[in-house]
């Protein structure tokens, strides 16, 4: 299977890329000065800014002399850093700017901690880094930094209950992150074995995505022994990626939402987690897992599509069987969106990269609208704007699969993954039924919530009391 190469980009775009990744991080450091009120921080931030500007100028001069589409540094101590920008990812970067703006606005309006602005800017820079990363170090750095920044933001409330929730969030997210690390380690070690076939000594490998890890399908085609090794190894390597995708995507069945009710202190962290961090596994699947495992669609469909299908049914059935509470109405569509987004990416992995970005953007924006309208409805009087936002987000979440399917079918041709087995029909039947089940229940629930029929979410004090009681027992 040929590996798609990124299109050529102009130098201006690369400079913009540097601004998108490095700029927010510098902004985060500068705004940390305000949060801590330290003169030394101000001096350090000013020094950092000067250094960044100097490096940026030097960087621009170097770029002007070459026609590079990717940015490479190193190897520095065995580590090579590579960032690649594609114009198809530009809407995603714009959406991240939008999320940052909304989070800062929400933080300011709710009077959250002084760390809101630095953490939001830091999150933006780190997620941008994940989007453009083409090496394992940058990818895992951006991801880990985003998790820790979000946790830090949640921890600033200070009381024991919120800290317990924040620690639970950190534990869960880092569990997914270390699964990611194990998955990459399995790929790196496996690649060394596959490349060594039919010889016996392990051969050289690397940590670059496009240059090393994504070359596995091509390497397997060079010798039957290589293919044989990869067939034995690929299932084991997929397990940690599966666990990482489901955990980081928030798709594993959870006992409770990691954020406590309507806490204003967690509103910004919740926004980032719901709208951005849980959507990053879509990129992981679309850019790394699917290209590596594209030669074995049945493996992808069974191991990734299967659990996601079960998750969709779990959300839809829990939404159907019981009366919908306000908290359920707030969280279930977000969880549904994560499942559907991942499922769509798994199925459209054979297509061009736009098939990854389109569902990602749809799910991200609908989650943003939903959490902005429904998540704060009870905290503020319901206005026409919120009603409109709720309806738009509900319709988007219900119609995401249909929109993505139409987009794929008419604009780019059919790229849905096929195994030529009854599994295809089974998956489609299950998917359509789950979508119908969910949509027919969500839209009436939205109507009832507009009429005030649903119960309000539990009060924060009640929630804190219940959690404390739970901790004591």
């Amino acid at each position: 299977m040929p590996i798609a190469t990124p299109p050529s980009e102009s130098i201006d775009v690369l400079v913009m890329l540097a601004l998108l990744v490095v700029g927010p991080l510098i902004g985060a450091v500068l705004s940390t000065c305000v949060a801590t009120g330290s003169r030394r921080w101000v001096s350090a931030a000013a020094l950092l800014l000067v250094l960044a500007m100097s490096a940026g100028l030097q960087w621009q001069l170097q770029l002007a002399e070459s026609d590079a589409t990717s940015l490479h540094w190193g190897p520095i101590g065995g580590v090579t850093i590579a960032w690649t920008y594609s114009s198809q990812g530009f809407p995603l970067l714009v959406a991240l700017v939008l999320v940052t703006w909304v989070s800062v606005q929400r933080g300011l309006s709710l009077g959250s901690s002084a760390w809101t602005i630095p953490c939001s800017l830091g999150l933006m820079g780190l997620v941008n880094l994940v989007v453009v990363a083409q090496d394992v170090t940058s990818l895992l750095t951006g991801w880990a930094g985003a998790i820790v920044s979000c946790w830090w933001l949640m921890s600033q409330r200070g009381d024991a209950v919120h800290r317990r929730h924040a620690d639970w969030f950190l534990r869960e997210q880092l569990a997914g992150w270390i699964c990611l690390l194990v998955g990459f380690a399995a790929l790196i070690g496996g690649l060394s074995l596959v490349r060594s076939a039919p010889h016996s000594a392990p051969s050289a490998t690397g940590f670059l995505l496009a240059a090393d890890l994504l070359q596995l399908p091509r390497v397997c085609g060079q010798h039957p022994a290589a293919l044989q090794i990869w067939e034995q190894w690929r299932g084991w390597a997929l397990i940690p990626f599966l666990a990482a995708s489901l955990t980081l995507g928030g798709c594993l069945p959870r006992r409770a939402w990691p954020f406590s009710g309507r806490s204003p202190a967690n509103a910004v962290a919740e926004l980032w987690w719901v709208c951005v961090l849980t959507k990053l596994p879509l990129l992981l699947i679309g850019q790394i897992i699917a290209p590596v495992f594209i030669a074995s669609p049945e493996l992808l469909l069974l191991w990734l599509g299967g659990p996601l299908m079960l998750g969709m049914w779990h959300v839809a059935s829990s939404f159907w069987s019981r009366p919908v509470s306000a908290d359920q109405l707030r969280t279930a569509p977000l969880l549904w969106g994560n499942h559907v987004g991942l499922w769509l990416v798994v199925h459209s992995a054979a297509g061009p990269r736009l098939d990854v970005v389109a569902p990602l953007l749809l799910v991200l924006l609908s989650s943003l609208m939903w959490s902005s309208s429904v998540g704060t409805t009870a905290a503020a009087p319901s206005s026409m704007r919120r009603r409109l936002g709720t309806w738009c987000a509900g319709l988007m979440l219900s119609l995401v699969p249909v929109l993505a399917w139409q987009h794929s079918l008419y604009d780019l041709g059919t790229h849905w993954m096929q195994t030529q087995s009854p599994l295809d029909s089974l998956m489609w039947l299950g998917f359509v039924t789950a979508v119908l089940l969910f949509a027919t229940r969500l839209l009436p629930a939205i109507t009832r919530s507009m009429d005030g029929v649903l119960g309000e979410p539990e009060d924060l004090q009640q929630h804190v009391a219940s959690v404390e009681l739970e901790g004591e027992t």
């Binding site: 330290s38 350090a44 580590v79 170090t137 880092l174 194990v182 070690g189 016996s200 940690p240």
Partner: protein
């Protein structure tokens, strides 16, 4: 006689000076100026080490000298009123450094018996330091552990099991060595805390961290004498996984920071021990060595790399804890915790990634299962190793958050801000609450 041009002589010098410093705590030490002895010892060891004219392939000598220099800087100058307890600590510290340096050049089983006995001496010194409750039972167990470890080292060479002992005898010897050294270093089968109450992070270095650092180096040097079959490598796995998982569970509970640091020291060592498995594979199959799989490190290179990188992380951490109220201290704390937790792009992340990547290769190539056949047990081993690394990662980050707000030797569970409590420094158990 040991020639002066060997690393053992450096180790012997450091160990002897450590014993003298420790012994001087009860004597008229003001006449001997013991504070001059450690720098002289380090200088002498450095001269001897450089005069050997050899490189430092394993980094043990560098590790020992580095820790010895840090110890001298830490305990210099000593003051009259606190010199006795400090001499205790410094003595054990230098003895640990001496043993690490000794292991660098110890290749024969007989030479490897010296660090085992030295470990026992450090444990005895630690027992003497805790005057409140001398633990006779612990001393007896330590003696048995020394005998077990010595038996493990000498069994294949004494001819007890015949001139060419079968693999089963070597496996028994390996188990004896694992059990004995694991008990002496307080890591296996259960990670145990020192009975000494830490009021300062530096106090865990001598009795806890340096003996732990010695453990993977001892395994690394002892493995060529005991390893004949790759099945023996699977014996090492429980000795790595069990303490690692127990550390991950115990450290997650609310504990004073001193105890948390003692437990977390074991994580690095378990990583080093896992790298010893890679070194064992390279020993058995040199033609399939990981050295060809660039940029992955072979096991013999990875063990000292792990120990060196995390040693630097520990020094930076303790400096950061000391100056945590200043900007530079917080920066040091952040950097050290980030690397000790294993988050990228710090060195702690890199050895974890290289270790996990490297472990894939030998386990996939296990010949007794068939070439290129994946054994589910080894997949479980890698999974459990990653699980064991995940638990301490969360604890490190919680430590980073809490240390910026409360006293370092207080319990890490912070009091609610609505009812702040002031706890004086130096209260190891938080009993003043």
């Amino acid at each position: 006689m040991i020639p002066l041009s060997r690393p053992e002589s450096c180790g012997l010098l450091l160990f002897t000076i450590g014993i003298i410093v420790w012994w001087l705590r009860k004597t008229a030490w003001s006449l001997l100026h013991p504070e001059l002895l450690p720098p002289l010892a380090v200088f002498g060891a450095a001269v001897l080490g450089s005069s050997s004219g050899r490189e430092v392939p394993q980094g043990s000598l560098l590790l020992a000298l580095g820790w010895a220099v840090v110890g001298c800087v830490r305990y210099w100058p000593m003051r009259w009123n606190e010199s006795a307890s400090r001499l205790d600590q410094l003595g054990m510290w230098l003895c640990g450094c001496g043993l690490i340096a000794w292991v660098e050049g110890a290749t024969s089983p007989l030479a490897l018996c010296v660090p085992v006995v030295g470990l026992g001496i450090i444990r005895w010194m630690e027992t003497q330091s805790v005057r409140e409750s001398p633990d006779r039972c612990g001393l007896g167990a330590d003696a048995i552990a020394i005998l077990l470890a010595l038996a493990g080292l000498l069994l294949p060479t004494l001819g007890v099991a015949g001139p060419d002992p079968q693999p089963i005898w070597r496996t028994i010897a390996l188990i004896c060595l694992l059990t004995g050294t694991g008990w002496l270093t307080r890591l296996f089968p259960l990670p145990r805390l020192s009975r000494q109450q830490s009021t300062d992070g530096w106090e865990i270095i001598g009795p806890q961290l340096l003996p732990l650092i010695l453990l993977p180096l001892l395994w690394l040097q002892g493995l060529p004498h005991l390893l004949v079959d790759e099945r023996q490598l699977s014996v090492l796995m429980p000795a790595i996984i069990l303490p690692l998982l127990l550390i991950a569970i115990r450290v997650d509970l609310s504990r004073p920071v001193g105890q948390q640091l003692q437990l977390l020291a074991g994580v690095t060592i378990c990583g080093g021990l896992a790298a010893v498995v890679l070194a064992g594979w390279d020993l058995l199959h040199p033609e399939l060595s990981l050295a060809a799989a660039q940029p992955l490190q072979s096991g013999r290179g990875l063990v000292p790399m792990i120990l060196l990188l995390d040693s630097v992380g520990w020094v930076v951490l303790l400096c950061g804890l000391h100056w945590r109220h200043s900007l530079s201290g917080r920066l040091l704390l952040f950097i050290s915790i980030w690397t000790l937790a294993g988050l990228p792009p710090t060195p702690g992340f890199w050895w974890r990634l290289e270790l996990l990547s490297g472990l894939v290769i030998p386990h996939t190539r296990a010949p007794h299962l068939g070439l290129y056949e994946v054994a589910p047990a080894t997949v479980v081993f890698c999974g459990l190793l990653a699980l064991g690394m995940w638990g301490p990662m969360v604890s490190w980050l919680r430590l980073l958050r809490d240390q910026t707000e409360i006293s370092p030797w207080e319990s890490t569970v912070p009091a609610p801000r609505t009812a702040p409590q002031v706890v004086p420094d130096g209260d190891p158990q938080g009993t003043s609450k």
